[in-house]
């Protein structure tokens, strides 16, 4: 196989189908961290969101027409709800109970793995009469976008795309607008940089942070559901692959800003898919893919070493807001 036979379209599409879910999870993390709440819980949030979405599909599948795509779209809604609900725990612990935000994140992750594993097998055994630790999903349809797909080179990015990629682009655009162009977004950013000023302006810091954390849960849920469709077409404990941590790395790499974070996600996604597609060219053994997969991580570390000094995290990140302290 020569370098000309490589499926470049697949590199683009697979890269995007990995980068976009990562992006939406990272945007969730950006909301939480820009509001001043450290969010190491993304991993647990995306898993719980995907669990709720998959549970919805598994329990209502008989109610829809056989080839209907409606359950798939609704599952993203439920995944967002599930993620948001689980994020309420993180928000309550960090804001109301003044828990250490790092500890709270670790707790949420451990709890999420334990709870979804326990519930999946229990629900499967008691309600669906199957001894299984996974909820099977329908395969997601894949679209060819007319006209756009005929653009030379870039058109490849518009063949065989997952519907969730459009959902994510829409949601990401909306939350970009919300963070940078609206009053609420200003409050979120102020809560992380200068909560006392926000408080002096008459805004309830605790409430702003609470909603920011809930939003991060909802977005992580959408990302988790996308991974469930694109990587495995089922929900199982295998969803906890560390993508939540990867999203954290992406958002720190992106200096807590949405557009640079998107670039980081693209680096992760494209190097990953390129490694898979280029392997046959070099007649490499399957094990070499492991070495190739280290590329995005090494690149990230090098870039951070070169440009990391400019990174600035939100000033009040990790601090419990206490009115009486000034």
């Amino acid at each position: 196989m020569s370098i000309l036979d490589v499926n470049y379209a697949a590199i683009l599409v697979d890269g995007l189908s990995f980068a976009l879910p990562l992006l939406i999870i990272a945007i969730g993390g950006i909301y939480s961290e820009r509001s001043g709440v450290v969010n190491l819980a993304l991993e647990g949030l995306l898993g719980f969101g995907a669990f709720v979405g998959a549970l919805f599909v598994a329990s209502t599948i008989g109610l829809f027409a056989v080839n209907s795509d409606l359950p798939m779209y609704l599952s993203f809604l439920f995944a967002a709800l599930g993620g948001a609900l689980f994020a309420v725990i993180h928000a309550t612990l960090c804001i109301k109970f003044m828990a250490n935000q790092v500890i709270s994140g670790v707790v949420i992750n451990i709890l999420s793995v334990a709870l979804t594993g326990f519930l999946t097998s229990t629900i499967n055994a008691n309600f669906f009469g199957a001894a299984s630790e996974r909820f099977t999903l329908q395969t997601s349809p894949r679209w060819d976008i007319p006209f756009l797909m005929e653009i030379p080179i870039l058109g490849a990015a518009f063949t065989r795309v997952y519907p969730f990629m459009f959902i994510i682009l829409l949601v990401a655009a909306f939350f970009w607008y919300l963070l940078y162009k609206t009053r609420f977004g200003l409050h979120v950013r102020a809560a992380g940089d200068n909560p006392h000023a926000l408080d002096a302006a008459g805004i309830n810091v605790a409430r702003v942070r609470f909603w920011a954390v809930v939003i991060s849960g909802a977005l992580a849920g959408i990302g988790g559901m996308s991974f469930a469709y694109s990587i495995s077409t089922d929900f199982s404990p295998a969803i906890y692959m560390g993508y939540g941590f990867l999203a954290i790395a992406a958002l720190i790499f992106g200096n807590w800003k949405i557009v640079p974070t998107f670039a980081a996600c693209l680096i992760f996604g494209l190097t990953r898919s390129a490694a898979f597609q280029l392997l046959p060219v070099f007649d490499a053994s399957a094990a070499v893919i492991d070495l190739a997969m280290t590329a995005p991580f090494i690149v990230t570390l090098l870039l951070l070493a070169l440009f990391g000094k400019k990174n600035r995290m939100p000033r009040a990140l990790g601090e419990v807001y206490d009115k009486s302290k000034r």
Binding site: V38, L40, L93, N100, Q101, V102, I110, I298
Partner: protein, 460 residues
């Protein structure tokens, strides 16, 4: 008065409370709000008992985790009951599975002792990992790279010693040394990148975790694959950190070499962190890097050496995990122990000795789960759920502490106000003492706030 002063302070306090509530109730009856005020009184006195019981900060670090464990067990009991099983039976069989209680029957050559030895074997890497996390956290660093340090050290020891034909006397110390050296290097790298390039340790340890497991996977799949287990080929028995089978009564067991080392390491670390200059410097950097720098402590050197020490513990966790508690190094997957040890460290109050207790508890839950599931039929994931709940309630501990301090101050004030009646003398004595305690508390609250900062202020 004479009679009163013979009573112990507790009894006096109780009597005062009774009198007070009696008076309040009488007043309440007059106002016709009997039930409500009685409920208030009951709540009030319950609060007082709780606040009194927990006000000594010395005990809080022990009582709050115990309370968290109790609350978690209570919550899980409700869950178990809703599945129609008996919670007591579940907890009993968890303990039996871990070796604390006798099982119903044992397989050939096995006894409660074998279970206890297995428990010690699984506990060892968990404790080493937690100790590594504690050291880093004391220096204000969040080392979530334990899992990566583990796999690198475990793999290096397996390849360098495990596949050679060294005798046990040479091989085992060498395995431990390789664990320490490889782990320390991997940890120091994180510290170096933090100091030299300002790369946050959470990001670099996530990256390094991924890089290490991928590289190890590549080498295993290319050169060291066992065709049956699809893991790395097992290390020689001489290199494994388990003794030759030792006959104890009717059963024979392989004792974990690392277990005693881990306990000793916990005590050494405790001594190191609290009693030595280097340990003090690390804690100072963790509390306030700027103040430490002003005091002439070299930040860079301290950060790197703290991470190296933390990584060395992570490396020891790696060799005791991959060369004792599991058969061999598995590709593609980091050991869950690396992340569980973070939970253990937090449950143990980020204290080396607390980690010993916490590791015992978590190891008991995880190693008793399979037996419990086979006996009671409740899914074994419930053990992980218990761990999660304990942590959830532990995380609320800081809130409880602050709440107690506030309540205590309020109570001291209100007692000082109401000291005009019959038990004036006693009450004023009590309130005087309480004021002293309150002042003490304030100092301690400040200290614990410092601690909180140390634990998480710079956590991210």
């Amino acid at each position: 008065m004479n009679k009163k002063s013979k009573l112990s302070p507790e009894e006096r306090e109780l009597r005062r409370l009774q009198e007070e509530s009696e008076q309040k109730r009488k007043r309440g009856e007059h106002e016709g709000r009997n039930l409500l005020s009685e409920l208030n009184n009951a709540l009030d006195s319950a609060t007082r008992v709780l606040v009194k019981g927990l006000s000594a900060h010395k005990w809080q670090s022990l009582v709050i985790p115990l309370l968290a464990i109790f609350l978690s067990l209570a919550t899980i009991s409700v869950v178990i009951l809703s599945f129609g099983s008996s919670p007591l039976e579940v907890f009993r069989s968890l303990l039996a599975g871990a070796g604390w209680l006798p099982k119903v029957n044992y397989g050939g050559g096995q006894s409660q002792l074998t279970d206890l030895v297995n428990l010690a074997t699984t506990l060892t890497p968990l404790l080493f990992g937690a100790l590594g996390f504690v050291v880093a956290m004391r220096a204000g660093l969040f080392n979530i790279g334990i899992a990566g340090q583990m796999v690198l050290a475990g793999f290096a020891a397996t390849v360098l010693v495990g596949y050679s034909d060294m005798s046990a006397l040479v091989a085992r110390p060498l395995v431990l040394l390789i664990g320490i050296a490889v782990g320390a290097l991997a940890g120091a790298l994180i510290g170096f990148m933090k100091y030299r390039f300002n790369i946050h340790e959470v990001v670099s340890s996530i990256m390094l975790n991924n890089i290490f497991i991928l590289v190890v996977s590549y080498f295993i799949k290319s050169y060291y694959l066992d065709d049956v287990s699809r893991n790395a080929r097992a290390a020689s028995a001489e290199a494994r950190l388990l003794t030759e089978p030792i006959q104890i009564g009717e059963v024979s067991a392989r004792l974990p070499v690392g277990f005693l080392l881990a306990i000793i390491a916990a005590f050494i670390l405790w001594f190191f962190l609290t009693k030595t200059k280097q340990g003090f410097e690390m804690t100072a950097v963790g509390k306030s890097p700027k103040a430490a720098e002003y005091a002439g402590i070299k930040i860079g050197r301290t950060v790197v050496s703290a991470m190296a020490l933390s990584g060395a513990m992570g490396g020891l966790a790696g060799v005791t995990h991959y060369l004792a508690s599991v058969p061999s190094v598995a590709p593609d997957k980091l050991a869950g122990v690396g992340f569980d040890s973070i939970a253990v460290a937090f449950l143990g109050n980020v204290h080396p000795l607390g980690a010993v207790l916490a590791a015992t508890l978590i190891a008991t839950l995880s190693s008793g789960a399979v037996y419990m599931s086979s006996i009671v039929g409740v899914r074994q994931e419930i053990a992980a759920l218990i761990t999660g709940m304990i942590l959830l309630f532990t995380a609320c501990g800081g809130y409880l502490r602050a709440w107690i301090d506030v309540k205590k101050r309020n109570m001291a004030e209100s007692d000082a106000d109401s000291s005009g009646d019959s038990s004036a003398c006693v009450a004023s004595k009590v309130s005087k003492r309480e004021n002293e305690v309150a002042a003490e508390t304030e100092v301690e609250a400040l200290q614990s706030a410092d601690n909180a900062e140390l634990r998480g202020g710079d956590g991210k």
